[in-house]
């Protein structure tokens, strides 16, 4: 078991953002986390990655209890993440952004630069290496975040709505990049998306959240047929009328 979340609860004042969530991820799996806007997907990611302290519950990673560890320690353990709202370093070049990620595993600049260049190639960013991120389109900036997360050599990569704001072609490209990354490593992928299509094509298993709770789990085709899932997305009337 690579990642294990045990009855995790996160409350903000009176609002229960995550209500008793339990889930498990095996090494090498691709798992999608879906749900309508406001279902608590990003909150769950933030609790796992250490940005939020869970109200109760436990998070285990690679046999360690990492509950409420600070984000940088979680990253060192091998969990990398991207952000739903881009968090790019604007005054560093694309290559420097990724070198910062590579410094997570080495103190040597030559090695960090070498790793960064390999990853630039992997995500097709070599041509933009010396540009500054704010000059580039959103799709490219999303790639930079992905590359930067990969540069930390994670065991688990958590992608928070990596396809949000992209057009269908760009979405297809990023799916291809992710598949290529998977082929070259035994990385575990955990990705959220509220656009079903993206998650359904790439995930081996899907977890569905709605209103802070986990409502379904299973292979994509099976989950898509479940009444509770359709209800969460489209409302009660549609589910009943089918």
């Amino acid at each position: 078991m690579l990642l294990e979340v045990e009855s995790l609860v996160k409350e903000f004042g009176g609002l229960v953002a995550n209500a008793d969530i339990s889930l498990e991820l095996e090494q090498g799996e691709i798992v999608g986390l879906i749900g309508p806007n406001g279902a608590g997907k990003t909150t769950l990611f933030n609790c796992i990655a250490g940005y939020y302290k869970p109200t109760s519950g436990k998070v285990f990673f690679d046999g360690n209890d990492i509950t409420a560890w600070p984000p940088h320690r979680v990253a060192k353990m091998g969990i990398a993440r991207t952000f739903q709202a881009l968090r790019i370093m604007p005054l560093l070049t694309v290559e420097e952004n990724i070198i910062v990620g590579a410094f997570c595993r080495t103190a040597n600049r030559q090695n960090a630069t070498k790793n960064a260049r390999e990853i630039l190639e992997l995500v097709d960013l070599t041509g933009e290496a010396h540009a500054f991120p704010p000059e580039l389109p959103i799709a490219t900036q999303k790639r930079i975040e992905l590359a930067r997360a990969l540069a930390t050599k994670p065991k688990l990569l958590m992608l928070d709505e990596v396809a949000a704001g992209l057009n269908p072609l760009e979405t297809k490209e990023i799916i291809q990049t992710l598949i290529r990354i998977k082929e070259e490593s035994d990385l575990t992928l955990f990705l959220t998306e509220h656009v079903m299509e993206f998650v359904m094509t790439i995930s081996e298993r899907v977890i569905v959240m709605a209103a802070g709770g986990k409502i379904a789990e299973g292979p994509p085709e099976q989950v898509a047929r479940e009444e509770r899932v359709i209800e969460a997305y489209l409302g009660e009337r549609y589910a009943k009328g089918r």
């Binding site: 990655a49 600070p70 940088h72 990253a75 968090r87 910062v100 040597n108 997360a149």
Partner: protein, 330 residues
């Protein structure tokens, strides 16, 4: 080891013309005393190098770290007082007093850093300012440090390397040596792991943390290194002016001038501190003196303020940002 040496001395990642300008700058400063006889011009040059040195150090926390620290004068004061008091009380040679000043500045900064970095932005700036002012008041009322009267260093009759006392030309090469050492340190630092981490923290703390960077730890390290660098310039001030008092080495004006030098020149760039010092110090020494001579006290401060307003409004990356834009636009 070889790799570190190469990082210290190499400017290979900078464009060709920048390397040429650096070479010209070094040569001009080296031969400066040979063709400039005027004592005043030499003093201006020394003050320029001293402020370029201060600016280089502050650029670490303020430029690469993006933390507006308005208390660098306290570290200058620690360096200056460590040298002055050890020389006066125990006749300690100069080069033994420098590490002591650096040590005190670092230790004090480490002690106050953790509570201080719970604050952000303007609140952090105000906190640094208050700590520096508190130290100044302490030195004003402390008898052992000479209080408000300050400390006078006994003058040696002949040039003396133990206490670093010599003529104007000697001080010129002395401060240039200190400046170059700090400049090369910064050249190494900007390529080192901590340099990258610090810039990542400046640009986006959440992103930095997601890449395994301890945000507070990185800020604290940068704050302490900046303190140590500031103390070196303070030690130089003691042996150059041979007299120090709190109003001279620890005032608020000094903290602000150091920060301003970097911001005018271009925060977070390797050339910014030198450009800022070159713009502000001659202005102060020539224009200020000329206007005061005509009875127009304070006019130079108005001009100062005007320059800073223009730069803050039009180019947050300072003079260096303007130069860079012109080059790129070509």
């Amino acid at each position: 080891m070889r790799r570190v040496l190469r990082d210290i001395f190499s400017f290979g990642d900078r464009p060709f013309f920048e390397r040429i300008v650096l070479l010209v700058f070094v040569v001009v400063v080296l031969i400066f005393p040979w063709f400039v006889e005027s004592a005043y011009a030499r003093a201006v040059m020394i003050k320029f190098l001293l402020f370029a040195l201060f600016a280089l150090g502050w650029n670490l926390i303020g430029g690469y770290g993006g933390q507006v620290d308005l208390g660098q004068a306290k570290n200058v004061g620690f360096g200056a007082y460590a040298t002055a008091l050890m020389m006066l009380h125990w006749r300690t040679p100069f080069w033994l007093t420098v590490p002591v000043g650096m040590f005190f500045a670092t230790a004090e900064s480490f002690a106050v850093a953790y509570p201080m970095f719970r604050l952000r932005g303007h609140y952090f700036a105000i906190a640094t300012l208050c700590v520096a002012l508190a130290w100044k008041e302490l030195f004003v009322f402390w008898d052992w440090t000479g209080g408000a009267r300050g400390v006078e260093i006994p003058i040696r009759p002949t040039p003396n390397f133990t206490y670093m006392q010599f003529g104007e030309v000697g001080y010129h090469y002395f401060i240039f040596g200190l400046f170059m050492a700090q400049f090369l340190f910064m050249n190494w630092f900007r390529k080192a792991k901590l340099g990258y981490e610090l810039q990542a923290v400046r640009d986006n703390e959440d992103a930095a943390a997601s890449l395994g960077i301890n945000v507070t730890g990185t800020k604290v390290k940068a704050y302490c290194i900046t303190a140590a660098l500031g103390a070196i310039g303070g030690s130089f001030m003691t042996v150059y002016y041979l007299y120090i008092d709190p109003e001279m080495v620890m005032p608020l004006d000094l903290s602000i001038l150091i920060a301003m030098t970097v911001m005018v020149g271009g925060a977070g760039s390797i050339w910014g501190p030198m450009i800022g010092a070159a713009a502000l110090i001659p202005l102060d020494m020539y224009l200020g003196a000329w206007l005061a001579g005509g009875g127009y006290y304070g006019i130079d401060f108005i001009i100062y303020g005007f320059i800073i307003m223009i730069i803050a409004a039009y180019e947050p990356k300072g003079v260096w940002g303007i130069i860079e834009r012109i080059i790129k636009g070509r």
